[in-house]
Symmetry: C2
Subunit: 314 residues, 2 copies
Amino acid sequence: MRWHGNGRWVSAELNFIEALRQFATHPAARGLNDDAAVLEIGKARLILTHDSLVEGVHYLHSDPPESVAWKLLAVNLSDLAAKGGTPRGAMMSYTLLSDPEWDARFAAGLGAALSHFDVALLGGDTVSAPSRVLGLTLIGEASGPVPARSGAHSGDALFVTGVIGDAGLGLKIAQGLQGNAELLAAYQRPQPQLGAGALLASVVTAMMDVSDGLLIDAGRLAAASGLCAVIDLDAVPLSPAFREYAGETREARLRAATAGDDYQLLFTSALPLPPLPVPVTRIGKMTVGEGLILADHKGPVPLPEKLGWLHGLP
Amino acid sequence: MRWHGNGRWVSAELNFIEALRQFATHPAARGLNDDAAVLEIGKARLILTHDSLVEGVHYLHSDPPESVAWKLLAVNLSDLAAKGGTPRGAMMSYTLLSDPEWDARFAAGLGAALSHFDVALLGGDTVSAPSRVLGLTLIGEASGPVPARSGAHSGDALFVTGVIGDAGLGLKIAQGLQGNAELLAAYQRPQPQLGAGALLASVVTAMMDVSDGLLIDAGRLAAASGLCAVIDLDAVPLSPAFREYAGETREARLRAATAGDDYQLLFTSALPLPPLPVPVTRIGKMTVGEGLILADHKGPVPLPEKLGWLHGLP
């Protein structure tokens, strides 16, 4: 589940989700306030998530169809990773636009991505439509506890996997700026942290994926937990490619922390962490209060007006 | 699952589905050739289906948002009914188009439909998009055998529930022709046959829902089973409202049998049927061969060029 932020119609979207929340009262829905639904059937604990990609909103018309297919699967796997789940299968919704070459390249890319992540395509629907809206429901399973966004405690440390900001620069490169292939790949081929998520699920108090921007998503985790997130901007992990491209000034770090599309895991814990297949960085802590507090070595950092990516590609 | 027919891009769609079929080899996918996927997890037998509605393709711009919401749920429930399943929850994909009144009416209609059918909304995704593409993944569960389209035997009788053709006339009424509310409701508020489907699942050899037209869907059941469907056009059940509106000539009956949007169950069996909550009519039988053979009291009926609704609203 991802009733996520949206640039143009934020207020309309919030009203719509609030209307749905009135009747989405089944505990599996988690109040429409988490990355996924958690449905117990028989002795199985299913994790269900659905994310859509809209051309011109979530990806560029010029993006290769193969990478759009990769991304459609990867963004859903990232939600599943945040719940510690293992994928069991996918249902796809696909719009046909009289462009058989695009369709063929998408299908080839989807097959490669499914194979890479060992996910079965179970079914779906193909419709003709005036614009591309690609949807995927991922069905996963959890063998243990399924962390929510809402479980953080005051005093927990706040961590993030991998590096932040590469995908934001990758988008600029996809739009025509000069830049290296590593950054472009971070935008076009995000790597969901399934292995780390499964290992972390039993030791975190809260977990979610960073899809819309580190700051906006940290704010959501804090709000869901009824706490304040205190973030050390200097600790936000940047890649060598990011530093080379954008530097590591306060402005560059704010750019990384608000760009979105990172698909890293953001989580809180007071316990020692297990060995993980990806680097993990402690970027702050949770305290009593609400919202975000940001600082770096120079002192307090005013919150930027835009905390995350608002899904409106220029 | 519904990789279903499409008027404008039939060949492109078939090519695309064929490409997916190369890697959709998990048995749960049923070869992308059934109404739903059937996934065993733990001791549960999940039934998964996804159908989308595109404005101007599957419904009219002028249709009330409440009935679009009803239809989005009902068409998926109809797929589940054809597999004898019980609904467990739904994931929705929703496009926002800067029309808050439409959104509010849709949400109210969805809440009413979910309540009517006792289905939990578990989660989903809201995206801004240039056109409306509404998707729903339905998660159901089966307690017994899950019939496929492919299980019919030569000699089985072919049955259909309810009446055929009302929704096709209802579409004309929605488009402005005079007509009664019952026909309009058949188009705007289809009634999935969940009760009948659950009772039939253990006595049928094949079952599917009639969504694109009785003839085209009977042809699909026959093809999946490697048989020929012999249909008595005179036996196709018509409502009093249909007879009053369109008569019961051969032409009227062909119109009913090719209109689509009926959401009745089409099934084959050689066994006595259990008592059912809806009328059931024997409309033919399965024989060795392939395709469709159509006849009425005057003799053989040439197959119409168009066997079903091709999802291109005029």
